[in-house]
Each structure stands twice: as structure tokens, then as C-alpha cells.
């Protein structure tokens, strides 16, 4: 197999890198400590956000908007975690909450 035809997962295995990405989500006003999980590269910020909200006991509310923040920037729900992590195999987020102004 050539390098060009290797999948990223195969390449990671060849290099001895973990096949999953460690994610940590903090939420200052959430119940309990940080949310932690190991997710596949193709997992999206939306799935991590939803799982983190469940962990923190934060419920969806039409008057509120929840989103993940990484390095000060909002991460869209559709963004793949691998895209945020880059070459790193661990990434930290903050769960943010805004009031939806009527």
C-alpha cells in the first residue's frame, strides 16, 4: 500500500498513534466535573456538545443556545473533532450558553 492510498486510521496505526481523540469539555455552571470521552475522528462537535450537556444536566431550551468554544472561537456543530484537534489527539472545549434575544 502506498502512503497516498493509506487511510488516516491506517496511517495512525502505523505510527502508533491513538485511533481516538480525547475530548474534555468544561462548563463552569454545570453539575459535576469536566466531561471526558474518547471519540472517533469523524465525531462532530454537535455530538460531543449533546453528550456534554447530558453530563452537565443542561437541557435544551428554546430561549437558550449552547455551543462549544475552542481557543476562544465558536465551533459549529457540524465541525469534525479531528478538524479541531489537527495533529493532536486530545482537545479541550468550553461549553458556552447564550440567551436567545427575542
Amino acid at each position: 500500500m502506498t502512503g497516498a492510498t493509506k487511510t488516516k486510521a491506517q496511517d495512525d496505526r502505523d505510527r502508533g498513534r491513538p485511533e481516538t481523540i480525547k475530548v474534555t469539555v468544561t462548563f463552569p455552571i454545570g453539575a459535576g466535573g469536566p466531561y471526558r470521552d474518547d471519540v472517533a475522528d469523524e465525531a462532530t462537535a454537535g455530538t460531543v456538545r449533546a453528550a456534554a450537556m447530558t453530563h452537565f444536566g443542561a437541557a435544551e431550551d428554546p430561549g437558550l443556545r449552547f455551543y462549544l468554544v475552542h481557543n476562544g472561537l465558536e465551533v459549529a456543530d457540524t465541525t469534525a473533532i479531528a478538524e479541531v484537534a489537527g495533529r493532536a489527539r486530545a482537545v479541550k472545549f468550553t461549553l458556552a450558553r447564550d440567551v436567545v434575544q427575542g
Binding site: F27, P28, G63, V69, G72, T94, V99, Q101
Partner: protein
């Protein structure tokens, strides 16, 4: 301010200071310099130095005043300098919901916002570290919604 509020604020402020340090900012309680409070002032006053990530040479000086913690949101205002005048519009950043002309922030995380929107009363969080939450929102606004310094 009651003793429980003082103890909780003191405990939560450590995380706030660490967060600000990571973002090139700083936190200092007013009473560390023996600041004289005026009648009507909140008794739990902290001064923050913050900057937008897009404008690293800018500095904003925010005064956060608590009357009760964590039971009620704080007053948040900007000053010209650390302990400076609170009545200069140029001390304020341009961010949606920040109203330099009124010297207030109309948001769910400020006492001024709650005065304007009584319907937000149930949205003030008391779990975890609301002080850190407020400061993270403030820093996030400067990083993601900053539109320059107010005139």
C-alpha cells in the same frame, strides 16, 4: 455581603484568576488595595484587566461588583483605568448588548440586564462557579464579537 458569599467568592476567584492569566488578563479584589467603597456600592468588588485576542495591545478594565454570591448576578461596568472613571464611553468595547451610552451590559449575566428583563430571573445559575462563567462570557465576547473601542 454575608459571610457565605465572601467565602464562595474567595474560593471561586482562584479559578477566575487562572483563566484570566491564560488569556493575558488579571484579577484583583478591590479590598486588596484598601479601596474605599461609596454608599450604595456592592461590597464584593473585583477589577479585571482583559483584552480581545484580536487586539493584544488593547486593555479594558472591568469592574465586577457582587452584592450576593452566587445568588444574584453582578454589576459589570468598564473603567478608563484600573479603579478609573466609570463614566467614560471610551472605556467600553463595542460588543452587541454592551451599551456604553448607558454604562451597562444588557445580558442575562449582569444585574443591569436582570433589572431590564425581569423575565430572566430564573436563568441566573447558582451551581458551579458563576463568577468564572461571567468572566468566560466577557472574554468570549471580546474574542468573538469585538467591534473596536467605543468613541
Amino acid at each position: 455581603m454575608d459571610l457565605e458569599s465572601e467565602l464562595r467568592l474567595d474560593e471561586d476567584a482562584a479559578e477566575v484568576a487562572a483563566f484570566l492569566a491564560e488569556n493575558d488578563g488579571a484579577l484583583e479584589p478591590a479590598w486588596h488595595r484598601g479601596e474605599e467603597l461609596e454608599a450604595g456600592d456592592e461590597t464584593g468588588v473585583y477589577w479585571l484587566t482583559v483584552r480581545p485576542v484580536s487586539a493584544p495591545d488593547e486593555r479594558y478594565y472591568a469592574r465586577i461588583g457582587w452584592n450576593r454570591y452566587p445568588g444574584a448576578p453582578p454589576s459589570v461596568k468598564f473603567a478608563t483605568t484600573d479603579r478609573g472613571s466609570l463614566s467614560e464611553t471610551s472605556a467600553w468595547p463595542n460588543v452587541g448588548g454592551y451599551r456604553p451610552g448607558n454604562f451597562d451590559i444588557c445580558a442575562e449575566w449582569t444585574s443591569e440586564g436582570h433589572q431590564a428583563h425581569p423575565e430572566w430571573a430564573g436563568r441566573w445559575p447558582t451551581a458551579g462557579n458563576p463568577f468564572l462563567w461571567v468572566v468566560q462570557i466577557l472574554q468570549g465576547d471580546l474574542d468573538r464579537r469585538y467591534g473596536g473601542r467605543s468613541a
